[in-house]
Symmetry: C2
Subunit: 726 residues, 2 copies
């Protein structure tokens, strides 16, 4: 267990926590930008790990393949006390903490110089939730037992590189890519403005900063950076402070330079505390609808908030051209790409508590529909094919064949998410403006992806990889076929809904996409006759055509704690054992519990759960959800704790080097609210039941349904109370 | 059809043949080095296409992945007549020709300058078959209607780059890689020596050259090249000549610089004609045993020789650490890697006509056995796993999952080739020194690659791609299972053979590889109980578990001539049609005809052949072979002609941009000798039957069997005559 201290609203660590782990879990952001929690004055780690990212800001690293761009660093500082670099001094009483009420990240420590001088240091930093372009830092220094000089250099550093990470999880990253051309630098009042452009496509970022200090400041321009140098004399026991405000804009906003300049202008003379106050207000508004109150266990409470906090930080606001990557803006893993993680794991929290944000996330998919149409064409298929890994465009970024070409359920996942959003929000225009087109185009893809067997009059999906990525490349994967059937039904229903309720819009749409009524019969035929494997004797839905040919594996003997087994057994071998990386049949049952009898879900649990390795962070939360619905309390608690503390306690031993696992955050929320919190809906009505575990005495959460907001309160031994917020 | 003229010993083209096509088909070499047939003075094409390669000389282009290195160019020249560059002058009466008796490549043409001056030019070039390090060029110039100045620059040019080609056949190559560091250059008598080292691993090549000319020569050194400049005055109607001799050595030979220097020393004062004479003698020796005489059709005769010529050029001599890549030394396609092409398609010609060369090709596999053991380990398997694509080491170079991880038959192909070589040569020590170890280690791999199904008491191969690469990733591929069974039998037999005939060697080997007698039972069990799919009703061996679920495709409608269909239909879609890229069941039947009844082979032909797209150049020759054995004469002739003229007539429309197809050359030989030539053997005896088609009145070829050499002569209407050569 990691040495992380969790209170109901704060997360903190001491010096015994590994540096890159701290960098990951203390990542802060506002959905527009995000930065890892590296100590501004610390040295010795490569610039690619002390990363800052902007949502949707990608650049090509080879033909057709992008990487999330590591942005110039606006927080690095060189601090010298009495001539000695603090980055190299002995640190004592170190504490790093995060306040989830306002996103304030803080380092407090004392420094001991080689000749015994002791200094108290506090560094504070936040990225404003009130204004997307704004970040601020504050440095406080108190010399304990000396007086003398302080030398500070801080500005904007574009001497950063990208370290693209191979899709293969075992292949180390080794080749740096220089993304930035030599930037342009302009002095401005109290600081400077730096505009850098990427080499391949000339995509610009501009960062303007100013220091609020009494001392005079000298500007140093180097090839790739600009910094302000400030020299002063400290007096023993007296607190000296300096504040830095930063404004960031990119080509995605328009004229990045003008925007950064004017944004800085707006905040130039505001204090750190004023800016923080405004950010806190924005955070309060988010917490007002998204908070989950868990009374009875403060660690759970803080961890639950941490899961929600990271999701709220990661989601782009009012930006329908970006989504949330597998690691948000906390790490460049998977080249920063968007997966089904966003639609299936994270989206429900947004749909239920921040529906506008959910809508924008889906609009990213709607806006990349032209790419999905192009992609399908490149696979000689009609309709729209969403990519397993997508970046600023929707084109496939996955470079391994078995996932990039075969893990096709993503297309149905996107359609499913549209359907879920529409059903629970009651967003009336959504179907006619976006949903119907997505359902129909994705349904068309499935028509070409199923193989019709005339002999059997059945439809098969061949060469498919399901959510259990250890399934090999197989046929008739239960999750994929089921989701594709859902997708086809969504399209069928959309056509009739459109005809009935939106006749004008339907006329436009159906002619624009050359819709033909015969298509419905084909969709219906495939939905009816596609192959799902069921064993009557065992009342068991079978994962796919090859699962039952696999050899058993003694998981207890082979697996070492929660560390993924692919570190020990090659992927090629793992996929031929009868083990699951993560839930597949149970995954579908988690999404559509009402389609199955309790006996069927229990049979699936009894068969698959013991065979599941949980080598994916997507696994724990879903198991917690299913277990809690099944009333398997101890299993549910065990899995919830894995998911709840996944990053905070570095359960998978990869948070340090891969960043925060966004899907797991979302799955945790689903386990809490749809599992223990007992919330469900059938598209028309919601219901809340009491499944509160004994660890808690009260649970309280808010949610939206059909445009109204509700608060549910669940207490031990009584019926849940749900009231509408007016 | 390409404008190529074929006589019994020569190949020639005029100016209407496309430049890169000519570059490919006029590739010359000696197995140590090879160079494409580019006109030395021609400009305007990238240096990566005017390529020169050395066998086994690879270098890393990224972690673990190598490319065949494009070597410095020793033939480029700048020639100016009366101040005008010949590379830019109008060419008339152009002819490029290749003499297969001695490997002499020749360009003859006239040049017309902008002011009407006409000049006859002849350029000649060969790579010596007598001395691996040696190449020579000769330039002859006759001014037709003018006298005036000639300016010649020629030397060694290391300003070449690599253009690695993606495994994906549709992805264009676009990124150049700089392999060479700034070379070292030393003047030597009449020329210079250049030593270049690759940047990543400091692998060296040295090229020394000298001009034999009366004129005085000035040396020009540039960063990446050295050249001799020679200026003279031409007299109208008089022939002026210059000769250039070149010696090449690399780090693979030892001290490359010393070797290149001393090799040049040996030939420095020999004339072009003397050197060519010696090369011709070496060629004669090769032709003595490898020639196939086809009387009755001169085009067939010349083309057959071309197929053999290219194989003889490509095979490394006395170098058991290199093999023959898919394009030999004629192109960098597939990063210059070795495939099953060498063992299954090319090897038989060498085994039967140049057994020492065959042995060395197999020793490459034996020498990379340690890598194959490491590879198996990286797949969590025991034993030895040969890589689908290998280079100087045996590690996997294929970067696409479905082939690199799933096209596993290569391991059995290697073992099979060892078995075939041993059976037909009777090379006594081969089993005890090399074969047994390879059979046992590869058998051990299969033990881990089959999945045992306890329920059925059967062994399955899951997630496998067979030779029909449009099969998707499937199970129980007939070819792979059959070859794996052969592999297991080879291992079982080897153990008993070793125990009986080589007890001391067996004691050493079995303890060195920790052999346990129980292994034999496992091998036998798998060989007996692995799944081959057979349909009694149709008397048909079924390719794999998914083939019969595929949808039919109207091949005639879709396919445009012989151009591969993957240019039109995406691979992802093609693999779900019931079509074959190349033979699979028939491929195995071609290798082991005696294991099947004629009815079975005919049923397979009738079922699979109409579904075969021949999108691989490996397809035609094998179909010709099977058809000829089945007595389907017109099919056999049709397929033979595709294979025989595959590169000469650019049947697949990719010879220009991919080089000469080595496997097809070998398949052509097999179709000629094992098919029409009627040669077969059962490991103990050979037999020759008359299957001569009416297009020929005589066929004559030599072959080795059990250490003795034979000549077979087959004439229309009589029994074949076979005599031993003494």
């Amino acid at each position: 267990m990691k040495p992380t201290c969790i209170t109901s609203w704060t997360i903190s660590c001491g010096a015994d926590a590994e540096r890159s782990y701290r960098e990951s879990i203390f990542s802060i952001g506002n959905g527009y930008m995000g930065t890892r929690g590296f100590r501004p004055d610390e040295r010795g780690q490569h610039a690619a790990w002390r990363s800052t990212f902007l949502a949707g800001f990608y650049e090509y690293i080879r033909t057709g393949i992008t990487d999330l761009v590591n942005q110039p660093d606006f927080s690095a500082m060189v601090l010298r006390l009495n001539g000695e670099d603090t980055g190299c001094m002995r640190v004592v009483d170190f504490a790093q903490s995060l306040d989830m009420r306002n996103g304030l990240l803080e380092w407090q420590f004392a420094l001991e110089s080689s000749d015994g001088l002791k200094t108290q240091i506090k560094m504070e930093k936040f990225i404003s939730m009130a204004s997307r372009h704004v970040a601020a830092l504050r440095l406080s220094v108190i010399p304990d037992n000396w007086s003398g000089s302080l030398h500070l250099e801080t500005g904007i550093d574009a001497s950063v590189q990208n370290l693209p990470i191979a899709d293969n999880q075992l292949q180390g990253n080794s080749e740096f890519v220089q993304m930035w051309d030599v930037p342009e630098i302009y002095p401005i009042d109290g600081g400077a403005l730096l505009t850098a452009k990427t080499l391949p496509s000339r995509r610009s970022v501009s960062m303007a900063y100013a220091l609020n200090a009494d001392e005079s400041i000298e500007l140093i321009e180097e090839d790739f950076s600009v910094s302000s140098v400030l020299v002063t004399t400290l007096e023993c026991g007296m607190c000296w402070q300096v504040e830095k405000v930063v404004a960031v804009a990119s080509y995605r906003d328009g004229d990045s330079e003008a925007i950064a300049r004017s944004e800085l202008e707006c905040i130039r003379y505001e204090s750190f505390d004023q800016l923080l106050g405004r950010s806190e207000k924005a955070w309060s508004k988010l917490w007002e609808t998204s908070d989950v109150v868990l009374e009875g266990n403060e660690t759970w409470q803080g961890a639950a908030r941490y899961n929600i906090f990271q999701l709220l930080q990661a989601v782009p606001k009012d930006d329908p051209h970006a989504s949330i990557g597998a690691r948000g803006l906390t790490h460049g893993r998977y080249k920063g790409c968007y997966f089904w993680d966003a639609e299936i794991f994270m989206l429900p929290m947004f749909t239920m508590t921040q529906p506008k944000m959910a809508r924008d996330l889906l609009l990213y998919r709607y806006n990349t529909l032209p790419d999905a149409l192009e992609s399908a064409k490149s696979f000689s298929a009609k309709g729209a094919r969403y990519s397993w890994m997508a970046s600023d465009t929707g084109f496939e970024q996955c470079e391994t064949w078995d996932t990039g070409c075969c893990e096709i359920h993503i297309t149905a996942d996107v359609a499913f998410a549209f359907g879920e959003y529409a059903a629970s929000t009651g967003d009336d225009h959504f179907l006619s403006r976006y949903g119907a087109e997505v359902y129909i185009q994705t349904a068309r893809y499935w028509v070409d992806r199923f193989n019709y067997s005339a002999k059997e009059d059945r439809y098969h999906i061949l060469f498919v990889k399901g959510p259990d990525e250890y399934c090999g490349v197989t046929s008739n994967d239960f999750y994929t076929v089921s989701m594709a059937q859902q997708n086809l039904h969504l399209a069928i229903d959309a056509v009739s809904e459109m005809k009935q309720h939106w006749p004008d819009e339907w006329e436009d749409l159906s002619s624009r996409i050359a819709f033909n009524d015969d298509e419905i019969d084909v969709w219906q035929d495939i939905a009816n006759k596609s192959v799902l494997l069921f064993d009557e004797e065992r009342n068991l839905w079978i994962q796919d055509e090859t699962f039952e040919y696999m050899e058993p594996l003694d998981i207890e003997k082979e697996k070492d704690g929660d560390k993924p087994l692919y570190f020990k057994i090659a992927y090629d071998r793992l996929q031929r054992y009868q083990v699951l990386k993560q839930p597949a049949v149970l995954m579908y049952m988690a999404l559509r519990p009402d389609d199955f009898s309790k006996d069927e879900i229990e049979a699936a649990w009894d068969y698959y759960e013991p065979k599941t390795l949980h080598d994916s962070t997507l696994s724990f939360g879903i198991h917690a959800l299913v277990a809690s619905r099944l009333g398997k309390i101890s299993d549910a608690i065990r899995y919830l704790e894995k998911s709840l503390f996944l990053d905070l306690f570095d359960v998978m031993e990869n948070t340090a080097h891969e960043g925060v696992h966004m899907a797991s955050l979302g799955a945790t929320w689903q386990a809490l609210i749809f599992g223990f919190g007992g919330l469900s809906h059938n598209g028309k009505h919601f219901s809340v039941v009491n499944r509160l575990p004994e660890q808690l005495y009260t649970m309280r959460y808010r949610f939206f349904f059909k445009g109204e907001q509700y608060e549910a309160e669940i207490r031990q031994g009584t019926d849940p109370v749900v009231r509408m917020i007016v």
